[in-house]
Amino acid sequence: MDKNQSRRQVRLMRQSLFDQGFLDEQFIQLEELQDDSNPNFVEEIATSYYRDSYRSLQAIELALEKTPRDFSKLDSYMHQFKGSSSSIGAKKVKAECQQFREYCDAGNGEGCMRTFQALKKEHATLKKRLEAYFQMARQAGPIEAACRPK
């Protein structure tokens, strides 16, 4: 695909990430921070997020398998994970985090398990979408400055 097409593709991919609720306003904040001194800032942040969150998820997984379940600990982990997810604006992931915490409050182990699975799925999906987006963006070349989703 030629440059123009690539760029258009990138724009569309980006727009759909917002439209489909994967990302929120925070992502735009990151884009606005990107400048000449940090031309790949957003991607760096996303990479950093995925690296750290992977570890967090493992910890939560382990905690979930323990019986009896320590809900307060789980809640604490999830609180942390939620904060981390908020850094890149991972909207759907955050929603699952919130759901998980509610189940923790209620002491609902089953609910936690289910939500955790959904959370992992969202987490993985977003990762794929972002990777594709960043790759396309690199191919397309420097894009125009971040623009708010319509």
Binding site: E25, Q26, Q29, L30, E32, L33, D35, N38, F41, E44, I45, S48, Y49, D52, S76, H79, Q80, K82, G83, S84, S86, S87, I88, G89
Partner: protein, 612 residues
């Protein structure tokens, strides 16, 4: 020069602000670093609270502000917050993805200047410099209050200083500011200049703090006073003011701890939600006082909340009235003659509540005013001015016209006996600042008069009638004279109020406050400093505007004044005109300036004002 206050150089100020960011999440750390760098701040990041504390301790004056996450693995963010507040006295901003009211309240209680929710927007970070600025202003005032004692003498002799100060004009402010070296630092682009410009800030290391705590325990908490502590600590380079200010903070800290439990319940009763959380923190002691008042009103305990201080004397009820009165006092009637104002304040209990709100406003004014009193010197004025200018130049001018200050001063004179009131005022009753709203501003200009004039506490409207410092009425009872609400000049109280408030709320016992008062009274002069400090400490953003103002006022008036009796005792402390006038200093000047009263009157006023 233009005071950076009045016209901050957007291009330079507040560039270079040295921020220390603490967060265990590396992703957030990167983002925050980038955001702050975009604001032209100097950023240092830290992944662990321990590391952060080490960094802060190593480079005593190496940072201007700390931004920290609440949830960290190695140390609770709130703990870090307290350490920083006690040891380094830096403004701290908390962050969290959790915005639950209880958490935010906790943050405020522990002394946070602000509480940001994640995800954090860049525009939120852009304005964090205000917390640094505010603190510096308060510190200056604090320092100046000491100077003001001497300054008072000077002022008496020459009112030209005031002339400059009083007539609030951009130029005056500017000139005042110029006089103030401290202010200069703001002019500088480099924030770090501030440290050098102003007096070296005492850093309370762990050892030093341990010595302090030991001394406090040895003396006995209720008998404690900066002088005693200082003697026991046996640290040659430490001054009474340093100790007083630290004591203030410490008191707040303790009351906070104590209140945490009580507050839950008491806060429930507090009408002012914003106050309740804030109170504890002593965001501005004033605020606390105000809140406390509210609580007090509800509980019938210390009304001190600010107004009460004056009235507080042992009579909680009266406190309410006082508070009201104090609030209402605000200078609304500056000219009227003190008596008029005061009585009103007392009357209205209900207005108290109003007062609280208005008080809060007044606090602003008071705050502004209070510092002035202390400053008496022109520098005060300057500070005030600068402050005022920052705050509201407009107000200042307003003040000038109202000259409420004088009014309040008169009241203060009447109050002479009140001394305690002054103390009280300190806490809550911001002495009727003339024209509450303005008071702050006016105070600044007037700085001296404003102290008393403050009563008008913006909120004053609350009491409406109470303008007259309710506390005043209280005093009247006690003293029979005008308990110049102005005393509420709460300036002095601020620091106290906080503590008082805290106590009050919890204990709802005046006695508690009384003891506070006592301590307050004795430490009045020193308390002012600490009060101010406390204020600063406490001053959280919520009341930011108020807080600042109140803080100033409070400092002056550490006197919690609750205990009239204390006042009498304290009075001796106050008798030292210079001493007393820490706060009133500017009041003094104001008085002098405004009304050529005879010196004796002023002294009384000072005391009264000081109370605030």
């Amino acid at each position: 020069m233009e005071s950076s206050f009045s016209s901050p150089r957007n291009d330079s100020f507040p560039a270079g602000l040295r921020v220390l960011v603490v967060d265990d999440d590396p992703t957030w750390l990167k983002i925050l670093e980038k955001m702050l760098k975009k604001c032209s701040y100097e950023v240092t990041t830290c992944g662990l609270a321990r590391d952060a504390l080490n960094l802060l301790r190593e480079k005593k004056d190496g940072y201007d502000i700390v931004v920290s996450d609440v949830n960290m693995p190695d140390m609770d963010g709130f703990k870090l917050l307290e350490h920083v507040g006690l040891e380094m006295d830096l403004p701290v901003i908390m962050m969290s993805v959790d915005g639950e009211t209880s958490r935010v309240m906790k943050g405020v209680q522990h002394g946070a200047c602000d509480y940001l929710l994640k995800p954090i927007r860049m525009k939120e970070l852009r304005n964090i410099w205000q917390h640094v600025f505010r603190k510096k202003i308060h510190e200056i005032r604090d320092i100046e209050s000491h100077e003001s004692i001497e300054g008072i003498q000077l002022i008496r002799n020459g009112s030209d200083q005031y002339d400059e100060g009083y007539f609030f004009s951009a130029e005056d402010l500017t000139s005042l500011r110029k006089r103030k070296d401290v202010d200069n630092k703001y002019d500088d682009k480099d924030f770090s200049d501030c440290s050098s410009a102003k007096k070296a800030r005492v850093v309370w290391s762990v050892d030093l703090h341990q010595k302090f705590v030991k001394a406090v325990h040895q003396i006995g908490f209720d008998k404690v006073g900066p002088k005693k502590i200082l003697d026991l600590m046996n640290v040659p380079w430490l001054t009474r003011e340093n100790v007083a200010s630290h004591l203030q903070k410490y008191r707040l800290y303790l009351s906070r701890l104590q209140k945490e439990n009580d507050i839950k319940s008491s806060f429930g009763g507090t009408k002012h939600s914003d106050y309740s959380s804030k109170d504890l923190q002593g965001i501005l002691s004033v605020q606390n006082s105000i809140n406390i008042q509210q609580n007090d009103v509800a509980h019938g305990s210390y009304r001190f909340s600010g107004n009460n201080l004056v009235a507080q004397n042992a009579d909680p009820k009266s406190n309410e009235g006082d508070i009201k009165g104090i609030v209402s006092e605000p200078v609304a009637e500056p000219k009227k003659g003190t008596t008029g104002n005061i009585p009103d304040s007392q009357k209205t209990r209900s207005s108290q509540m109003d007062f609280n709100s208005s008080y809060a406003e007044t606090q602003k004014g008071l705050v502004g005013n209070v510092p002035d009193s202390q400053k008496i010197r022109s520098s005060q004025m300057r500070v005030n001015h600068s402050f005022a200018s920052v705050e509201s130049e407009v107000n200042l001018t307003a003040f000038d016209s109202t000259i409420p200050a004088t009014y309040s001063w008169n009241q203060i004179q009447l109050e002479k006996e009140h001394k305690p009131l002054i103390q009280l005022n300190n806490g809550f009753s911001k002495p009727p600042l003339p024209g509450p709203q303005h008071h702050f501003q006016a105070d600044q200009l007037q700085s001296i008069p404003s102290i008393s004039s403050r009563p008008s506490i913006p909120g004053e409207d609350v009491t409406g009638s109470s303008k007259s410092k309710p506390s005043y009425s209280e005093y009247t009872n006690h003293h029979g004279s005008h308990v110049s609400p102005t005393i509420s000049a709460t300036d002095s109280f601020p620091g106290q109020t906080k503590s008082c408030v805290v106590d009050h709320q919890l204990s709802e016992t005046i006695s508690t406050s009384t003891s506070n008062m006592k301590n307050q009274g004795i430490n009045l002069s020193t308390d002012l400093e600490s009060a101010q400090r406390n204020l600063i400490l406490g001053s959280t953003s919520p009341f930011a505007s108020l807080d600042d103002e109140f803080q100033i006022c409070w400092y002056q008036g550490d006197c919690y004044g609750m205990n009239l009796e204390l006042q009498n005792v304290e009075f001796s402390e106050y008798t030292d005109p210079i001493h007393v006038t820490e706060v009133p200093a500017h009041l003094y000047d104001a008085l002098r300036f405004e009304y050529p009263c005879d010196p004796s009157e002023y002294s009384v006023l000072d005391q009264g004002l000081f109370i605030a």
